[in-house]
């Protein structure tokens, strides 16, 4: 472990910072995240983005694995209904998400830790606002209960 890593790990014990994963579709939410940056809308650095072509690519396992591996919150971002680059991948994501929420609850995790948002490529401001809000939600919930175990 590098020195920096060690420091962060140490800090974590004193002062918990959420670790948030954002799985963003390439055409809308990923673009919105870029837009937020280029317009200098700041949001909590706790949020880290992984790019996928479409919200329809997101497998429920991705989210479960993220939670099992310690993420405090997972947000899936896609295009607004009707605007999907691949016609209807976001509808598929929506259907899977309902199911996903139930599984998460059964795992004993607060369902608020997973979230699905439609953020268009032009909505840089919305991206930042959603991230702020989600970060606040996760902070209220505290660390991922699975991580404590």
């Amino acid at each position: 472990m590098s020195q920096a890593q060690a420091e962060v790990a140490e800090k974590k014990n004193e002062e918990w910072e959420p670790n948030i994963l954002v799985i963003a579709c390439n055409w809308c939410t990923y673009q919105a995240a870029d837009m937020a940056g280029s317009l200098r809308y700041s949001y909590p650095p706790t949020c880290k983005v992984v790019r996928v072509p479409c919200s329809g690519r997101v497998e429920p396992e991705f989210v479960i694995e993220a939670l099992l591996n310690g993420a405090d919150g997972v947000l899936i971002g896609g295009c607004h209904p009707g605007d999907c680059h691949y016609k209807e991948g976001n509808y598929k994501a929506l259907r899977r998400f309902e199911w996903l929420k139930k599984i998460v609850e059964e795992l004993g995790i607060e369902p608020e830790r997973v979230r699905l948002e439609w953020i268009a490529g032009s909505e840089g401001l919305k991206f930042a606002e959603v991230m702020k809000e989600f970060d606040a939600t996760i902070r209220k919930l505290g660390p991922n209960p699975l991580k404590k175990v």
């Binding site: 870029d34 940056g37 650095p45 880290k48 690519r57 016609k87 991948g89």
Partner: protein, 699 residues
């Protein structure tokens, strides 16, 4: 380079001037990157995308130091192609590349939290490296492109698209559902803002289309089905039955007059203001100038019904023929041979499709408040016919209620006194900007009302002309000057849309309006009321869009890929749109769009082949159980169940149709489908790295 060679990852961190280095401690990130598994080289540079920056990467590849590249810089949406090319140039498969976005999504967003930004940058780099370890080499795909284009719609937009393509050497199939090309423009008397005679500028173009060696003109034809994708569309076009032998028909028109009164129906070309026979040529300048029989109207004189029966004989022993076939000098109207009512199916192979199906003028009957049944309440398109030299009154301005009288007299060869109008009133935005019908502005109504008013006022200075407007919209080139000319002619422009038309005891009308400028209700007794009804999508457009696999917007017009940047493209590659099918527009804009669509089709097809990124899904036949879940999920219909050698049905993905969304990959219960570039392992590696952060990924 073999696939199972152990990854040797080079991490290249960009300062982007101060854009990254201003918030992220680049040196710290570099030090951290060195600790990541399989990372063998870490470099940082002021501008990694610059020539010397790219050279750093290329040199390491050439020196055999690295076989995977991670660039931590800006967004892959803009720079991934640049770095991929650098890898390729140095001899590395370009899909051995991954990008870490530490500018747009890190330094810029967290500018004032430098320490946290640096930590986040490390996490992003770690995730990218995790994915890079699992990258696989991929080969670009190429598809051959058919250098033929189908243009649907023979109006002014379709004509220009077809001519531009044909002149550039492309084979064009121009499909028009009416018997003649020309579209709505052929009906217009004059065109703003120059008041050119519409037929005079359009007819030569129509003739050019008909004579062009590269244009295959398919009139009276409709697209029935479209399969395939960009570069290779397979199209079935239905050539409707004309019931006239077009090879023999010379367009002499002899048959038109003999068709009996019982078989006469409202003439589409004259917007229903006159009658045509069941056998007809749409209009005098029609191209091709050929007759067709409208079987819904035909009364099959003498039992002559194209069923293949020989004619009955009269008492004198002569065959009993229908008047049209009797009079036809070339035998084109011969009703003896069997003619298939279904016409003929033509198959085309085209690389691109341009949809230019135009528009429909909204019907007046919706507007009860404007006495739509009254013969002297007409649409603006009817006014075009009324003032056109080829119209029902041959261009003489008369009250529409007098047309039957005039036509009757003409038939008898008599002269007749008809009433001429003294007052004409135009009402704008009828059906446009109206929540009950169309919320959009039809864009051309202001100008065509002004045009008609101007033409009328210049020709008949004694006419009183009123135009009731919500507001006058004249944003085109030379348009406002045109409007001002109208005002100066003494045409009375009243701000305020009229609210009603009351028929008077004679055949005149009382228009009730409100002059917002004076602030009082106003009334006009008018001879003709012209309703500027909206431009509507063609009623069949939705169906056509479905056939083509393109979208229509909420208002029913075809949806462009991007309003500003891709205005003539659709979401389906290889299909372009032009003219009023995309939304209301005037002739200059339709022509401009048609030329843009033609140019887009040319630049797509001209190279003869196109590269397709291999980032698409593939089925592992061994894992596939043939459950078929994926088949209906695919938005492009790219997946089908095919029988394999072992006799079992398994999924197969058509690489030409797959766009790489990954919906099937995510849904496959047996993980038999891989989305190249975003495989399960690759994405999961990234996710786990971030989820476990700040724990360092294990070896």
């Amino acid at each position: 380079m073999s696939n199972d060679e152990k990854p040797r990852i080079g991490v290249y961190i960009c300062h982007c001037g101060e854009n990254i280095a201003g918030a992220v401690d680049v040196k710290a990130v570099a030090e951290f990157a060195k600790t990541l598994p399989d990372v063998v080289v870490v470099r940082d540079y002021l501008f990694m995308c610059s020539d010397p920056g790219q050279e750093l990467i290329k040199q390491d590849i050439r020196d055999g130091l690295v076989n995977r590249v991670v660039v931590a810089a800006c967004t892959p949406r803009t720079h991934e192609p640049i770095f991929r090319k650098a890898c390729e140039d140095a001899g590395l498969n370009k899909y051995y590349f991954e990008m870490a976005n530490i500018r747009d999504q890190c330094s810029w967003a967290h500018w004032h939290e430098k320490e946290k930004a640096t930590e986040k940058a490390k996490a992003i780099v770690a995730a990218a490296v995790a994915k890079a370890r699992l990258l696989e080499p991929l080969e670009d795909r190429y598809i051959e492109l058919t250098k033929e284009v189908m243009v649907i719609g023979g109006g002014i937009a379709g004509i220009f698209a077809a001519l531009d393509l044909a002149n550039a050497g492309f084979k064009v199939h121009l499909v028009e559902k009416s018997p003649s090309i020309g579209g709505n423009m052929a009906k217009l008397d004059k065109t703003f803002p120059t008041n050119d005679c519409s037929a005079c500028i359009l007819t030569p173009l129509m003739v050019e289309v008909a004579n062009h060696p590269n244009i295959n003109l398919l009139t009276y034809s409709e697209v029935e089905s479209v399969e395939g994708s960009v570069g290779n569309f397979k199209v079935k076009v239905r050539k409707k039955q004309t019931y006239v032998d077009w090879d023999k028909c010379t367009g002499c028109g002899a048959c038109l007059d003999v068709c009996p009164p019982k078989a006469r129906v409202p003439d589409e070309f004259n917007e229903g203001m006159s009658l045509r026979g069941a056998i007809y040529i749409p209009f005098p300048q029609a191209v091709p100038k050929k007759a067709v029989v409208d079987m819904d109207a035909c009364i099959k004189c003498g039992g002559r019904d194209f069923s293949g029966k020989e004619p009955r004989l009269s008492k004198s022993g002569k065959p009993i023929l229908a008047p049209c076939e009797k009079v036809c000098p070339t035998g084109a109207a011969d009703r003896t041979p069997y003619r298939d009512p279904n016409g003929e199916l033509v198959e085309l192979n085209v690389g691109a499709i341009i949809v230019a199906t135009g528009y429909k003028v909204m019907d007046k009957h919706h507007f009860k408040e404007f006495a739509p049944e009254h013969p002297n309440v007409i649409t603006a398109m009817q006014m075009e016919r009324l003032i056109s030299a080829t119209g029902p009154s041959e261009g003489k301005l008369i009250k529409p209620s007098e047309i039957p009288k005039l036509l009757e007299a003409k038939k008898k060869g008599e002269k007749v006194e008809v009433e001429k109008p003294h007052t004409i009133t135009f009402i704008s935005c009828v059906g446009s900007r109206d929540n009950r019908y169309h919320t959009y502005c039809s864009r051309v109504c202001c100008m065509y009302m002004l045009k008609q008013a101007m033409i009328l006022k210049e020709k008949y200075p004694d006419l009183d002309i009123y135009i009731f407007f919500i507001d006058v919209r004249t944003p085109g080139k030379d348009f406002d000057e045109y409007y001002m000319r109208c005002r100066q002619l003494g045409i009375k422009i009243i701000k305020g849309r009229a609210g009603g038309i009351q028929p008077l005891p004679d055949d005149r009308l009382l228009v009730k309006g409100y002059d917002a400028e004076i602030g009082k209700p106003v009334e006009v007794v008018t001879d003709i009321a012209v309703l500027a009804t909206a431009i509507e999508p063609n009623p069949t457009l939705k169906e056509l869009a479905r056939t083509l696999g393109i979208n229509v917007g909420a208002e029913g017009f075809l949806k462009e890929r991007h309003t500003k940047l891709y205005p003539v493209d659709t979401m389906t590659e290889g299909i372009f749109i032009a003219g009023c099918a995309q939304g209301p527009k005037d002739i200059p804009d339709s022509v401009a769009q048609a030329k843009a669509a033609a140019a887009s089709a040319m630049s797509l097809l001209d190279p003869g082949k196109m590269t397709v990124e291999p980032l698409i899904s593939e089925v592992n036949k061994e894992k596939c159980t043939g459950c078929g879940i994926c088949v209906p999920l695919c938005p492009y219909g790219a997946i089908s169940l095919v029988e394999c050698e072992d006799g079992k049905k398994k999924s197969e993905i058509n690489p030409a149709l797959c766009k790489g969304c990954g919906v099937c990959t995510a849904a496959c219960p047996s993980k038999a489908i891989t989305l190249h570039g975003f495989t399960y392992d690759q994405v999961l590696a990234q996710i786990k790295t971030i989820a476990r952060w700040p724990e360092i990924p294990a070896e």
